[in-house]
Symmetry: C2
Subunit: 434 residues, 2 copies
Amino acid sequence: MPVAKPLHHLGLAEAARLIASGAITSEALVAAFLARVAEREGQVKAWSFIDPQAALAQARACDATAPKGPLHGVPIAVKDVIDTFDMPTEMGSPIYAGHRPAQDAACVALARMAGAVIMGKTVTCEFAGMAPGATTNPHDPARTPGGSSSGSGAAVADFMTPLAFGTQTGGSVLRPAAFCGVIGYKPTYGTFNRAGLKFAAESIDTIGLIARDVEDMALMSSVLTGAPFTAPAAPQQPLRIGVCQTYLWAKAEPSARIALQRAADAAHDAGADVRAYDMPAHFSTLTETREIFNNVERARSLPFEWMHHRAQISAVLSRSIETGFATSQADYIAAKRFVERCRIEVDAIFEEFDILLTPAANGEAPVGLHYAGDPSFQGLWTLLHTPTIAIPAGKGDSGMPVGVQLIARRYDDSRLLDAAHWLIAHAGVAATMV
Amino acid sequence: MPVAKPLHHLGLAEAARLIASGAITSEALVAAFLARVAEREGQVKAWSFIDPQAALAQARACDATAPKGPLHGVPIAVKDVIDTFDMPTEMGSPIYAGHRPAQDAACVALARMAGAVIMGKTVTCEFAGMAPGATTNPHDPARTPGGSSSGSGAAVADFMTPLAFGTQTGGSVLRPAAFCGVIGYKPTYGTFNRAGLKFAAESIDTIGLIARDVEDMALMSSVLTGAPFTAPAAPQQPLRIGVCQTYLWAKAEPSARIALQRAADAAHDAGADVRAYDMPAHFSTLTETREIFNNVERARSLPFEWMHHRAQISAVLSRSIETGFATSQADYIAAKRFVERCRIEVDAIFEEFDILLTPAANGEAPVGLHYAGDPSFQGLWTLLHTPTIAIPAGKGDSGMPVGVQLIARRYDDSRLLDAAHWLIAHAGVAATMV
């Protein structure tokens, strides 16, 4: 059976089917991705660790054994704040140079149990925060790939791997996906087990996925949650979509505004019930509230590093930690109570709408590698614990990708993936950049 | 200034004051606790790791330097599912024999930043679950100390240390405290940062404290949250106490029923507004719901151990993992949604009451070391994320300690500690067993 496209253009589910049918071997597939890495890594710098021989050895072991599960022989990449027992986990920090955990994080072990090949570790901003690594945007090496899952976004967009794990505390999965022109999915808070993840702010840290196909999100979700895999399906009834500018609209650049309008129009034309939705006015403090969470919880999760390795902590993270330690517990608790009330109010929004549609980011990826971009448009939903997905929605004036973001009610992840798939497949929203 | 009691009878706050005033040295204090360990550890078996010379070295280092913080020179113990960079962290499992993490857990590092001496690691049930270690109840070596924070409960009750960290996913802090006749405090979910904790069921795992004095809970809470330390104070107005038998009342043995009545009467006599409170009928499924959380999340947090070391996992934990993997994601999500609704309803209960009063456990510690007791009376509140504290409330027919449990609204931890302190100090509830 001939394969209709280059092997390194295959998605996770596609590749798994081809391996299962005997059309391709895991070794050939992994070799194709490694060849792409060899060709492009010098510019993109997506990987903090990759050992081609070890990846090929995993692939050959898969080819030599009966399938272990639905990911048999398919490679994935892992953001370097997630533990791996056979590769370093350096967390984007010199403090952890060469660090080797004793065990895999839960998500990595579940992927391996399903047969996945772990290709390597992808570059993360320092402790999944604001200080970027060396990764460049595959579409323009002068621009940031976004962060903090910088390497995951760039590696997937550059066809170096079909899917990568990321983590999101603000906008660290969706923003790199949007800036690199691929799909970024942050499930409902708590969906993918976090054992073996280095915490940033534990009450909002969420493991997510970056891939080039919504089906791949559904497949990996099935592996990590044990839910039966069902390919994304068209909604039974017209989707009720609320177009939500949010209180951040002034930050939305023309490219983001145009992309949102285009996506809303396309959804309407394809039969969705599309209406404007305005958030409650008091939600406008959620960005500052997320900052309180972020600073306080970072300070409390890094006291060992703060005590023993302070000189190796970046200035931007040091400021966050200092601010966190200086924030009163009363203010933090008030913030937590406020957000819990907002989460309940958000549930009610989804009585009226199936999906909210909003910008994925301010606009195109900014020029420069020192700043991974503004997390506001993504962080709001991270704080609210809702599932959220960014999909490509065309290009901006600089020819860089621009995304839109879909949000569903907490635990309605299947509905979210279905809606994203429908927008791409049936409404023609996505002009995928890759 | 003479010290009025043996040094190893000092609490955390008392000892800190005496060190700060120069009345005692850290070395003398730690040596006194170590002498108690040497005398009693052969029977109690509370410690999975203790190195007397290393503990004394930490104490001498404190004595040689200016105070670093409010715990300067005071020893504490750490449950062995919590990482320490300078001691093994074996988690009650042969899989982790000799395991040494690269860093301290956040709570340990924060305690060290405040000047604490880490005396050693206390015995935990396997991965904070149901398979006990060798620890015995200090009041009767034929009886369980409770679990899974078995060593923490026993070490504090036996005067081997003033305070120990524990963790609670069901009843793992409050039950050993109740069975050993000391105080166990589980704060509101999320209060103490969990970086460096081995997860059991991450959406309910809570780091808690075992000590002999409520003031010590307040002091350690201040260290771990950065809130100003305020000694527990009598309530400004009469406490509104709801006496809550719960749907588990049939499990309450006569000793637990008598203790609850005695505590309620004492509170009433001391001026509290004490009334009966019946939980909503649908709360009666919370015990089974917690089992769903426990099984599903354990299965998802231990895939590495399940894949590589299955033969070293106990039968009871294997059953939990297998049940977890066999539970549908739909059932798990339904359970999560149900509990989130219940948590909101619990907030409303505390419009009417300041505190709920309920049994701490079924009764006295059972005979035998193979079973650490029924977590039902504690686990209900762990699932609901409320802060909860067990205090000693007399003896049962076998002469063993029996406790009562106080519960407050989420984030009302200060009110909870104040109420516990008041019951002990002003209502004469506690006949502390130690």
